[in-house]
């Protein structure tokens, strides 16, 4: 077998070029934190459709792909803009009948863990006695041990591709996530056949300072298929400590969801442009670096 290239650098357009209509795509991050939004916008520009989207902890990634009509079915546990509790595009799409497979948050990471471990399922109590378990796709299983407890079998989720945003990567896909919370990005990556990453900054391997930063390294490089540099690639979600959530932009985004014309205008101004034009459109790098920490 010919060894694969170790230089995994790609453009975002090349990453999206690897994706196909009808694929099962997983997206990392959490609601308004470290979502790979530059890649999401590139997917909207490319007009991908019929996606089975696995975004267990959804935010504007789900909303934007729903508004673009790219989703055939959504697997999720919640979708929210956090400070704006209801994601408006998601709400509109659901009320028009967008099919979903709804999970509990903990149950979703169990499904990803099963996928990551190449197991068919993992057992849990989570979901029992709720309407979650009454959806198709789940089954009950009895403990083979003396307790004989009836448990829920959560089927493994496998992804054709996963999309994540990190702070640093070298060309080989050795990555660092400096945020205080990795969420379940590691499991989403391991449950995927191919993993595409955007990084705030691509650096030389030595500049990762890996021994000092080991605890920020989420997985080994063999997990990673391709990396693209995308400064502010999580905006309008945060990539703390580099920049925080852009609440005023999220308000603009949410307000634009009120009408078809609003979304069309938003799409023209903020989606149908490349990432460097985008950074200018949202007020420039200095404004983004100065965004205040959100309060809860």
């Amino acid at each position: 077998m010919k060894p694969p290239p170790l230089d995994k650098r790609m453009t975002m357009e090349a990453i999206v070029g690897q994706l196909r209509d009808g694929m099962t795509l997983g997206i990392g991050g959490w609601a308004t934190r470290r979502k790979p939004m530059a890649l999401v916008r590139a997917i909207v520009r490319a007009g991908l459709k019929d996606l089975t989207l696995v975004a267990p902890y959804g935010g504007p990634d789900v909303g934007m792909l729903a508004a673009a009509g790219a989703i055939r079915k959504l697997t999720f546990a919640f979708v929210s803009l956090d400070h704006i509790p209801i994601e408006p595009h998601f709400k509109t799409a659901r009320q028009a009948g967008l099919p979903v497979w709804e999970f509990d948050e903990g149950m979703a990471h169990w499904a990803l863990r099963a996928g990551a471990m190449r197991l068919p399922f993992l057992p849990t109590r989570v979901g029992l006695a709720t309407d979650i378990a009454r959806q198709p796709g789940f089954a009950s299983i009895r403990s083979p041990f003396a307790d004989a407890e009836e448990l829920l079998a959560v089927p493994a989720i496998r992804l054709d591709a996963a999309l994540l945003h990190v702070h640093r990567s070298d060309e080989k896909g050795n990555t660092l996530v400096f945020s205080p919370d990795l969420f379940f990005d590691d499991l989403i990556a391991r449950a995927a056949d191919r993993v595409f990453i955007t990084a705030e900054k691509l650096v030389a391997t030595a500049a990762l300072d890996m021994v000092a930063n080991a605890r920020f390294n989420p997985f080994e490089r063999s997990v990673v298929t391709g990396v693209a540099e995308a400064p502010f690639g999580a905006h309008p979600t945060s990539a703390s400590p580099d920049y925080e959530i852009d609440l005023s932009h999220l308000k603009t985004y949410a307000a634009a969801a009120d009408t078809e014309a609003g979304w069309a205008d938003y799409r023209t101004r903020f989606v149908e442009i490349d990432q460097s034009a985008y950074v200018d459109a949202i007020g420039g790098a200095d404004r983004l670096r100065a965004l205040p920490k959100p309060v809860y």
Partner: protein, 263 residues
């Protein structure tokens, strides 16, 4: 005549939920439950752990809203993955604010109407199923109506309740432990026959009939006079004010009514 508001009476009443919990994570979702957890920590049970609402354990309650230059004193790390490890161990008691609750204590924050094409899509089930199967839970309703405390079952059962028809093999889940419901009208618990929801106290000036009329199911009502929910003391009010310097509590209930209803 006390100057206490109804919001403050609710915070005080709800704080009792964590009084005898020992050392565990107290989670209060939405401002009044959060302030109740804060008050529980500073006045009833200092062993409680609380978070900053993001991913850190805080040494002292974090005020809701802007906090200026005041730094949060951090004592531990609470990333997302650890939230589940902890809650599966049972060492958490959450008070959350669902959209619907039924006579079994089952709640809903996912959809109103049909799940396939909802009349109103809300957040999704979040962690409600797992929470209720692993640790104690209490509930808060800012508007006690039949649309919130519903007849029959909630539209989409997100959190588990005392409904044997849904339990696997009819066996009650071993860690199911529902504790308290606080509304703008009264305090309820699950102390009726087979965990039926029971009236504990009426907020001062609220007639029993108003609670019964606004509840979509039959409540267990103890014999004899129903106690009034205690009005917080001046000392407690001062502590609540310290925990909520932005007075977020004044913005939660319509018109911020007084604790003792004017008749």
């Amino acid at each position: 005549m006390s100057t206490a508001t109804l919001a403050e009476l609710i915070i005080h009443a709800a704080s009792k939920a964590w009084e005898n919990d020992g050392e565990l994570l107290a989670t209060g979702i939405t401002p009044l439950p959060r302030l109740a957890a804060s008050l529980a920590k500073t006045t009833l049970n200092p062993a409680l752990m609380i978070t900053d609402g993001e991913c850190w354990f805080a040494e002292e309650p974090v005020p809701p809203g802007p906090r200026g230059d005041r730094a949060v004193r951090i004592e531990g790390w609470a990333p997302y993955a650890r939230t589940f490890e902890n809650l599966w161990s049972g060492k958490r008691h959450a008070m959350v604010a669902p959209v619907q609750l039924d006579r079994f204590g089952q709640t809903n924050i996912s959809v109103i109407g049909d799940h396939a094409r909802p009349r109103a899509q809300m957040l999704g089930a979040r962690g409600f199923p797992g929470n209720t199967l692993h640790h104690p839970n209490s509930y808060f309703f800012p508007a006690h109506t039949r649309r919130a405390l519903v007849p029959g079952e909630v539209d989409f059962v997100c959190s588990v309740g005392y409904n044997p028809a849904r339990w696997p093999g009819g066996v009650q889940p071993r860690c199911l432990d529902l504790r308290m419901i606080v509304t703008n009208l009264c305090v309820l618990d699950f102390g009726g026959d087979r965990h039926a929801i029971r009236l504990v106290s009426l907020h001062p000036g609220v007639p029993l009939a108003e609670v019964l009329d606004n509840t979509g199911f039959d409540l267990a009502v103890p014999e004899g006079p129903i106690p009034a929910t205690p009005v917080p003391s001046a000392e407690t009010l001062a502590e609540i004010a310290r925990l909520d310097p932005n007075n977020i509590r004044a913005t939660i209930l319509k018109n911020n009514p007084p604790a003792v209803r004017e008749i």
